[in-house]
Amino acid sequence: MLASASDIAISWLDVSIAACLLAINALVSVRLQLGMASKIAWSSVRMTIQLVILGLVLKQIFALATAAPVLGLAGVMTVIAGVSAVGRIDHRYPGIYLNAISSVWLSSWLVTLVTVLAIIRPDPWYSPPILIPLLGMVLGNSLTGISLGLDRFLSEMHNRRGELETSLALGATRWESCRGVFSVATRTAMVPILNTMAVAGIVSIPGMMTGQLLAGAPPIQAVKYQVMIMFVIAAAIAIGIVVALWLTYRNVTTADHQINWQVIRGKKKLKASIR
């Protein structure tokens, strides 16, 4: 029988061979004076530390037989994903963190629970080796979608202020005025997953399938898992972005069909006013 990755353990020495390959990047950076050598080094060290810590935490969590610590870790992962979703957004408003966390939480947990309870059905249902990586994948994609969508929504509102105000002044409701911006932002959020789905299996073998193949799973089984996870991720992004945009829309508009421009501010200005 052919060997699979799950039969072959790799040592830290083996990992260091891969690190040597990365050193080529650093050398190129130094020779071409790209100024990226220290960034590459720091990112590599940081990633290694993060993953080692994750490995140690997972080792402990996988050994537990109760739901509470598993759900606790899932909660921490969700909050971090929500906070990260806001990280790269240029225009913000008070309450954006709460909204991002709520939308990441609702969308990711909903689809992950449906996947675990109705599709994979492990025993117990919170089985950490299944629940945690699955939630991690959903969260990672969901936060990217929410981040892209929110950024586009707020920057479009800022850039199309004249148009939105003109519509309001001529009798549009707040929804009629903001609907176009909402659609553009939703489409933007869905672009990465649609692109991934379009090239899956043609340009690249997606991550989950790669992992399963390396672990020795039969290819068709790996395909089924991959297709399932793509659908789940796409659903999580769609739910997450609609919830995040809806909450944002409600935050920046008023019941009197106004757009409260004073609450939408650039990143720096908002930080200064909070201080």
């Binding site: 004249g162 148009e163 105000e165 003109t166 519509s167 309001l168 002044a169 001529l170 009798g171 549009a172 409701t173 009629e176 008023t254 019941a255 009197d256 069909h257 106004q258 409260n260 421009w261 004073q262 609450v263 501010r265 200005k269 006013s273």
Partner: protein, 228 residues
Amino acid sequence: MNFPPIIEVQDLRRRDAESERTILDGITLQIDAGECVGLMGPNGSGKSTLLRAIARLDPLEHGELFFQGNAVHGDQVPPYRRRVVYVSQQSVVVQPTLREDLQYVFQFQSSNQSLDLQDAETQLVQFGKTASMLDQPAEQLSGGERQIAALVRAMALSPLVLLLDEPTASLDAVATEGIESGIKQWLAADTEAADGLRAVVWVSHDQQQLQRVSTRVVQLNAGRIIES
């Protein structure tokens, strides 16, 4: 004949959230049918903010607005804005052409009439333009033409009140005269009709213009009315 006030604002207050500067400081004002109220004042005196407040475009810290004796809140605001139309200084034609723009604003939920394109064409001519402007690409319109397009679009809604923020700022003398006489005619035309108790609020820096067009001038300074 005495008309009831079309618009009444009481103790309007607004502050800029960023600078914490007071923009409106307890404005109380009544606008009667048949009036063209001129709003004057130095830069930053609160003229445009007051006009936007009357259009209910910005949240207020304090104050109340009555339209024909009724407070305007919530879902009454969009229909109110079709009766009391604000024309901004930086007007935008939202759709690719003015014709599509006119059709667009008649698709809003709050719209209960149908578009009279003939009227819009007549109005364009009144303002010194031709009907062909309806199909000119919006991005090719000059600043002055955009201003005229915004006025025609506002008047197409058959409003009771026009809130004009420096409507002739980007226009030459001939076009300015066309706008002034057009608005005066619009105000006079239906004033006597039972369903057309019209009024205008006109913001301008030009004192002579306000003397020509307005029936009353309100002077603002630092967010307060200093003379009416």
